[in-house]
């Protein structure tokens, strides 16, 4: 029974490694965290969860620039277990 529950949980949820940079890291007071999400969740879903649960996360815009596994990613990009999702303030390189 314990083993069945464990297996069911592993297929039903994913863990996403979130990273925050620059002004977002300053605002949240952290630069990374693990986030559990239901399987099938998108970048937009994960951002919504962060905005609902993190203190001061209303400092994040509803649709921040994001990257998944170190490539720019649209809000509807699906997330998989173990993905690295980064939230990027407006870019200002150069």
């Amino acid at each position: 029974m314990h083993s069945r529950d464990g297996r069911a949980a592993a297929t039903a949820t994913i863990t996403v490694h979130c990273r925050f940079f620059a002004r977002y890291a300053d605002a949240l007071g952290r630069d990374e965290m693990a986030l559990e999400m239901p399987d099938g969740a998108t970048v937009a879903d994960a951002v919504g969860r962060l905005r609902d649960t993190l203190p001061k996360a209303d400092l994040l815009p509803e649709r921040p620039l994001a990257a998944v596994n170190r490539e720019h990613a649209a809000p509807d990009t699906p997330l998989a277990d173990g993905d690295e999702m980064a939230l990027l303030p407006p870019l200002a390189g150069g």
Binding site: F21, R23, A67, R70, H72, P90, L91, A92, G93, G94
Partner: protein
């Protein structure tokens, strides 16, 4: 050569990467820290990056440029950490058979870099205050 560096940018080294006697036109862009009169004198800019992504994104930009301008040579570098006023924070070099291509290719790479590299800057003013600068 690494796309990211914490040392001053060495333009001569970047030029060495693209030099080829089939390429008659070379264009270099250097973006430097301005004193920035609007909000008081900027002493330096501290560049912060999502380094693992910035390096691979710069690599993707250059790979796309090579497809657009076959035969052209490219080199580019972004400096991270504190860059004093007047020093370059980014350099892009494009060398091609003729000057029109070299100008277009260099301009394309710097425009893409500005839009795509996950890099941020915190301005440090002469009075010691600092502020994230988003453009």
């Amino acid at each position: 050569m690494d796309y990211l560096t914490r040392d001053p940018i060495d333009v001569g080294r970047l030029l060495g990467v693209v030099t080829d006697d089939g390429r008659g036109g070379t264009v270099v862009f250097l973006g430097s820290v301005r004193r920035g009169a609007e909000d008081g004198p900027v002493a330096a800019i501290d560049y912060d990056a999502y380094e693992e992504m910035a390096g691979s994104e710069f690599d993707r930009i250059i790979a796309e440029a090579r497809e657009r301008w076959p035969g052209a040579g490219f080199a580019a570098q972004h400096r991270l950490g504190e860059v004093p006023r007047g020093e370059p924070s980014i350099a892009v070099v494009a060398a091609a058979g003729h000057r029109a291509e070299a100008f277009e290719a260099c301009r394309w790479v710097i425009d893409e870099a500005k839009h795509r590299l996950p890099i941020w800057k915190k301005e440090r003013f002469d009075d010691g205050s600092e502020r994230w600068r988003e453009e």
